[in-house]
């Protein structure tokens, strides 16, 4: 899970947290030091990746050979890096849009309607999350082989949509079940046709959950390796590119892209927090 999806999920799912602050005593230095150590441990690989994106490497990017901005300015100069990155974006985008749309519809249906096999479907939707990725990936690969589908962009997209749907359903379902049915009834009572009620009441109220689900889908799709590896054929995504090139030495351009993704995620999270703070202050002022 990336930082970004964690923060989004925490925002979407948890209730407003009650903040209780205990006072730290003079003797209790254990917790702060432990926390610092844990953070250092967690952040070292990221710092390493970022630092080596500025390495003036020639072939392999293992030893430090001096600072340069060349790799940042000419990201696409290394072979296939940008193509793999582009593929990842394309697959992530398509998988997100399709999985979010289908998953949202499934979530609404599961909460709002009573039909045969409803409980069974709820349960089955958990399976892709519970099954080891190796099993899913190899299973899908043999399915595609059996059906005579050439592995490529399309098969990767289908695979990603499949596992993303489960996460979308789970995320959006929580939101749908917390939605008071009386709100939609009020909409219908106030002369809203079913389409208008969905567009003006149901959808805006579900939107935070849907956005969280979409970000989660994109993040899952973007850094999936195992399932992709089984179903990609000759197509490379960013994770498979990094894996394959690891044998010959990962080019510093890959570090650049990884660092950029990290920074973008951080910027998104900070912007979101700031926007939330501004919104809270504005509400407090009008109250």
């Amino acid at each position: 899970m990336t930082l970004q999806e964690g923060a989004v999920l925490a925002d979407a799912v948890t209730a407003p947290k009650s903040r209780r602050r205990g006072r730290i005593g003079r003797t209790s230095w254990i917790l702060p030091s432990y926390t610092t150590l844990a953070l250092v441990f967690l952040l070292i690989p990221i710092v390493y990746t970022i630092v080596f994106s500025f390495n003036n490497s020639i072939k392999s990017n293992i030893s430090w050979r001096g600072f340069t901005l060349d790799k940042w300015l000419n990201v696409c100069s290394a072979q296939n890096v940008c193509q793999a990155f582009g593929n990842s974006l394309l697959i992530g985008g398509v998988a997100t849009v399709v999985a979010t749309t289908l998953g949202t519809m499934i979530a609404i249906a599961l909460v709002r309607y009573r039909f045969r096999f409803r409980a069974a479907i709820s349960l089955l939707l958990f399976l892709p999350m519970a099954t080891p990725e190796v099993v899913l990936g190899s299973g899908l690969a043999s399915e595609f082989l059996g059906a005579g589908v050439e592995p490529g962009l399309l098969t990767i997209m289908i695979a990603h949509i499949m596992f993303c749907i489960s996460f979308v359903v789970v995320t959006v379902k929580a939101r749908v079940s917390s939605l008071d049915p009386a709100l939609e009834e009020a909409g219908r009572d106030l002369y809203g046709s079913p389409g208008q009620v969905f567009l003006r009441i149901t959808f805006p109220l579900l939107l935070p959950g849907i956005i969280a689900a979409a970000l989660l889908s994109f993040a899952l799709s973007f850094d999936d390796f195992i399932i992709t590896y089984f179903n990609s054929g000759s197509v490379q995504t960013f994770p498979t590119f990094v894996y394959v090139s690891a044998a010959r030495g990962i080019p510093a351009e890959a570090n650049v892209i990884a660092s950029a993704v990290f920074f973008i995620a951080i910027v998104i999270v900070i912007t979101q927090q700031l926007a939330a703070a501004v919104r809270r202050r504005r509400l407090a002022r009008t109250a």
């Binding site: 009020a186 219908r188 106030l190 109220l205 509400l283 009008t286």
Partner: protein, 398 residues
């Protein structure tokens, strides 16, 4: 139909309305006419079918059979958004993602009515909340939210306004205030109000006509005073205020009255106030009509006398004191006495007699339920177990 503004309220007519849910019948058979411009209350305990009735009228549920007519037009088959009806929901159901003014203007905008904003401000002014129009519902107090919900409904000038226990979530003082406010708004706008509530006091103070519902049927319908003075069934007698009920065979009849023999005590009720004049009859009297005596009084034929009995409980409630008496043969009798002096009239354990004017008694159509639902010494855990068993067997049948 939904496109135009109603100039005034319309009649509501329910014809042979039935509603069955899987496993139980919510509404047995409902025939009801609510005249235009009236304030009508459906009163009953939870689960009696009153909210289902409201939802059927709003179009949020489909009737199993029967017809619903609004202003003479059959709307049974139409969708909720096609009916000239608006609802104030129990939970208010204000749209949390819209400002107060957008909430109020929602209905007008859906119908494409011009100057939705101006009309909404007027409606908000009517409930004295126009100064808060830019706020979100979450920033309002419960009473304010309730008024926004009311404004959001009446701004559409529905032929019929449905109120689903809209005051239930408010505290007592605010509720009284909102009751008066609702009543005056109804006078002002002249719409037909159909109000669903389980609060008998609320129904009696607000409505012109009250229908008491029980188990999917209307038990009795009439003006509040009439229902209180002359309840027709044991359910109405006990749901609308309290009653002392006595059951026994009719032992004598005159041209104007019947006498019931309750374990040796003669209780006389005017014929005009009794539903049945022969056989075993349940008669009753309201607790505040009773007079307490500490000595056996001399009474003439215009009064009924019970006693001697013993005071088993005295509870003081400010304006009045409630005495509970155990009268041999007649069971427990409740008396309300105004606190005109200082301190209780009689103490716990005292020997007393009660009397009341024959004209204050009433005779019921049915008999009082023979025993309370639970034994007096049953604890709540046992009741819960019994309830659960009853529910399980009900579910198995379904």
């Amino acid at each position: 139909m939904a496109g135009a503004f109603a100039e005034a309220g319309a009649d509501l007519e329910l014809v042979d309305l039935h509603k069955r849910f899987p496993g139980f019948t919510a509404i047995e058979e409902m025939n009801l006419v609510i005249p235009a411009g009236s304030f009508f209350a459906l009163l009953g305990p939870s689960g009696c079918g009153k909210t289902t009735t409201l939802r059927l009228v709003a179009g949020l549920e489909e009737a199993t059979s029967g017809r619903i007519l609004i202003g003479g037009k059959d709307v049974t088959e139409t969708k909720p958004y096609q009916r000239p009806v608006n609802t104030v929901f129990q939970s208010y159901a204000l749209f949390p993602h819209m400002s107060v003014i957008d909430n109020v203007a929602f209905g007008l905008r859906r119908r494409g009515i011009s100057d939705a904003k101006g009309k909404s401000h007027e409606a908000l002014a009517l409930v004295e909340l126009d100064h808060l129009s830019a706020r979100r519902p979450a920033q309002l107090s419960g009473g304010q939210q309730q008024r926004v919900a009311l404004a959001r409904a009446i701004v559409n000038r529905p032929a019929l306004l449905l109120l689903d226990e809209p005051l239930g979530a408010l505290d007592l003082k605010l509720r009284r205030q909102m009751q008066l406010e609702l009543k005056s708004i109804q006078d002002e706008v002249g719409l037909t109000f159909l109000h669903v509530t389980h609060d008998q006091e609320e129904a009696m103070t607000m409505a012109d006509t009250v229908a008491v519902m029980n188990k999917g049927r209307i038990e009795q319908l009439g003006a509040p005073e009439m229902l209180y003075e002359l309840p027709r069934t044991a359910f109405v007698a006990n749901f609308l205020g309290q009653s002392n009920l006595f059951t026994g065979p009719v032992s004598g009849t005159t041209a104007t009255s019947i006498a019931v023999d309750v374990e040796g005590t003669r209780i006389v009720v005017p014929k005009a106030r009794a539903e049945r004049h022969t056989g075993t009859v349940t008669v009753g009297v309201r607790p505040e009509k009773l007079t307490l005596h500490t000595e056996a009084p001399e009474v003439d034929s215009s009064r009924n006398l019970l006693g001697p009995g013993r005071v088993i409980d005295v509870s003081f409630s400010g304006v009045s004191t409630q005495y509970i008496l155990a009268v041999p043969g007649a069971g427990t009798v409740t008396v309300f006495a105004q606190n005109m002096g200082v301190g209780p009239l009689v103490a716990d354990g005292a020997e007393v007699w009660v009397s009341w004017s024959v004209d204050h008694g009433f005779g019921l159509e049915d008999e009082a339920p023979p025993a309370p639902r639970f034994d007096a010494d049953t604890d709540t855990a046992t009741i819960a177990v019994q309830k659960k068993r009853a529910l399980m067997s009900e579910l198995e049948e379904a």
